[in-house]
Amino acid sequence: MPLLTIKSLCIEFPGRGKTERAANNVSFELHAGEILGLVGESGAGKSTIGNGIVQLLSAPGRVTSGDIYLNDDLISNFNAKQILKVRGSRIGFIFQDPMTSLNPLFTIENQMVETIINCLDMNQQQASQYAIELLAQVGIPDPEIRIKQFPHQFSGGMRQRVVIAIALAGKPELIIADEPTTALDVSVQDQILTLIKGLCREHNVGCLLVTHDMGVIANVADRVAVMYRGNLVEIGDTAQILGSPNHDYTKSLISAVPRSNIKTDRFPLVEYIETTEKGLDSIDVTTHWLGQGVRHTHSDDLLVIKDLNLRFITRDAMFERNRRYLQATSNVNLTVKQGETYGLVGESGSGKSTIARMVAGLQKPDSGSIQFDGLELVGNPDKVAIRNARKQIQMVFQNPYSSLNGRMKIENIIAEPILFHKIAPQGDVSQIVGDLLDHVGLGRQSGKKYPHEFSGGQRQRISIARALASRPRLLICDEPTSALDVSVQAQILNLLKDLQDELGLTMLFISHDLPVIRQMCDRVSIMRHGMILETAESEQFFEHPENAYSAELLSLMPRFDNIYESSRITKAPN
């Protein structure tokens, strides 16, 4: 008898005019002590299934047909009261973002004890004692002290441990972990996954691990179910699915994952999804306006950063001795050569984005020097020269949803820098904007639309088009694909590569994703606590890291290369 049985499950989201089917005839089983990975890209319906099991679908979603059994109980037929006895007590939940899944206003103890009392027959004191035991189990040091604290006093990883402790509190038979490590840094991710895996084995608990990350699946899942647009396309042992997938979608999905072991010219695309990649040959940049930007060079080193320092005040006080600071960057030195892609790697808070912001002029450094093509940008009184230089430095941000003004048409968004910097005659602007849109693969007709009409990947193309509109020489990409699905990520990264080749762009590429860095960058600097620990040629860095921290990060990088090798299907064009 399996722990969890799902039979022909259908989940629908009725919308205006059209009903979206988020899960379509999904059936699978999960056994006690087993970790089943549920993998797929955004919109595939994997989280919906997790929520649907415990009737936590957000309105107006509903289960339209199918049965869900937990052991012998048909829990899909449970009413609102009955399902309360399932949640927490029999099925524990772990959510993606530990920063938001704990209530900030209550102590850890409060939030754990209420769960324990709710699920188990314990009094306040027993519950408190048990909570401390649980915290100890999930590896929180000094649990007696920590339990009295509030969520904000914990780091992200520690919070996720608390969340896991809460998920275990009701002694459940099944744990549903919805992207449990997506919001965490690589080093923490590994710890959490190991913890979940260990606990499941120890308590003989089943685990439904929902994730988009193939690396995670490869590391912990016993079996994998692959979802695509509400359909479960394939299910099987992890080694089999990753090693020799049957379904075309699975094949292309796996091939699109950036590889960490070897550098390839271009990213393989998920061919199964209808490709949007066209254009790039729409204009000839050698003759087009786009290719006519400033090209003269004073030195081979386009960007030179020297002893760059910046600190933030974390606690203000009247007296200096009481103030607290965070050293965001500490004596950073780096040089980006003309035409290269320079990678900045590090975990969150390491200061890599702060450097990008300072180069782009969005943040003023406390001290140090930033030279662009020989021109000093820090404290230079020559405003005209600065403005001229800034125009040649453009940025593509991480979040394509918030970086575009939702009230402006796309064509206006892109035309804005051209008009602002007066780099093209007024009459030519609309033609240029159209060409740019064609060139990034959106088509000129999309200029009449508004940002909300586009998907995340398309918006990132818009961001790139906007950046290109001022004919930059240096393009700063701050985590340009970390909010995107694997398949879309591949397209965007390819686009960036192509543009670089064509236009001779120099790129400062910031990412926490080591495989992506390996594929994109010529040279890499690794950052931690605002300092650069190591700078090396990309290949050199990945094969023979010098710094201990670098080596550790590389070792923790989830990889499924070994399994993947055998089944590789290369569809790289050209």
Binding site: R87, N103, L105
Partner: protein, 326 residues
């Protein structure tokens, strides 16, 4: 903590100095107090003499200097009408206004939170729709209209409620006259409090509703459900406390603004508080009292904001006013 309070004190002083400067700048347009102090028929020499006596003929700078000189000693001048130090007059009127605002705040809290929560939890319920519809209308009815409506329905037509004044008050601590300890006093405060709260109520219902909706869509509420907690506990414990954070911040400011609305309410109900006093002072060109009142209200704003921040700090563990370790 000390530093925080010190900062606020400085802020209050700054606010009050700016207000006093502003008051002096517009002093001339506040009218001629001798018109209220003396009959129309007195001769212009007599009037001039009176102006001289009041120091109104000195240049604004000299008058201001004199004012500041006394103000730092805690003397804001004498009210022409009340013939007492302006601060004494204000402090005498303060209990009436604070009690009215307090009663109105209680009404707002007691009504807006349940309604706001309900309309957020059950947005499609007929009662929610009705509440929201009424709140849209309510927000556009001026407070004096509500007040007069109440008087005509409950006092004139039905004869249930007294139409004006504070009624019987009970003196406490030898200073504070309270409405809350006598039946007559309670009866008198009901309609003014209802009228005063009416202007803020729709706003608060909408505020609570909006914040509650926002909180209900958060991960931790979903997580609380996933933990198996009952809906009641999810709403009343996890959601409500988080809802209250922004409500306190906005609400604190709004309740400060309510002091402004007491002017209208008090004058309709002949409520002997600061607001009515201020309106009369303006009518009478009682300049020292006008100045003192505005400065006092500025001070009150800073106090209310400080209290709100302290309360916020108590509820929100992430705010560290006391300066402990983070």
């Amino acid at each position: 903590m000390l530093q925080f309070l010190l900062k606020r004190l400085l802020q209050a002083m700054l606010v009050m100095s700016i207000i006093s400067i502003a008051c002096f700048a517009i002093q001339d347009s506040l009218g001629d107090p001798t018109r209220e102090l003396a009959a129309n028929s007195i001769s212009s020499e007599e009037r001039e003499l009176l102006r001289e006596e009041l120091g109104l003929n000195d240049s604004t700078i000299i008058q201001f200097g004199r004012f500041i000189g006394r103000a730092v000693q805690g003397d804001l001048g004498n009210s022409y009408f009340f013939k007492e130090p302006a601060m004494t007059v204000i402090l005498k009127k303060l209990p009436a206004t604070l009690e009215l605002s307090f009663a109105a705040s209680i009404l707002i809290i007691v009504i807006s939170i349940p309604l706001g929560v309900f309309t957020a939890i059950r947005p499609r319920h007929w009662f929610s729709r009705l509440t929201m519809a009424i709140s849209v209308i309510g927000i556009s009815i001026p407070v004096f209209l509500t007040a007069i409506g109440l008087i005509f329905i409950f006092s004139v037509t039905l004869g249930w409620m007294p139409s004006f004044g504070r009624g019987e008050t009970v003196e406490m601590w030898g200073y504070w006259n309270s409405n809350f300890f006598s039946g007559d006093g309670l009866l008198h405060i009901i309609m003014p409090a209802v009228a005063l709260s009416s202007i803020m109520l729709p706003l608060f219902i909408r505020l609570v509703r909006a914040e509650m909706l926002e909180v209900l869509s958060t991960e931790y509420v979903k997580f609380a459900r996933a933990k198996g907690l009952s809906s009641y506990k999810v709403y009343m414990k996890h959601a409500l406390k988080n809802t209250m954070l922004p409500v306190i911040t906005v609400g604190g400011v709004q309740i400060g603004i309510m002091v402004a609305y007491t002017i209208l309410t008090e004058s309709v109900f002949q409520w002997p508080g600061m607001g009515f006093m201020f309106l009369e002072a303006v009518n009478r060109s009682d300049i020292p009292l006008i100045t003192a009142y505005i400065m006092f209200v500025g001070f009150l704003f800073v106090v209310v904001n400080t209290l709100v921040d302290l309360l916020y700090g108590v509820i929100n563990p992430m705010v560290d006013l006391v300066g402990g370790n983070q």
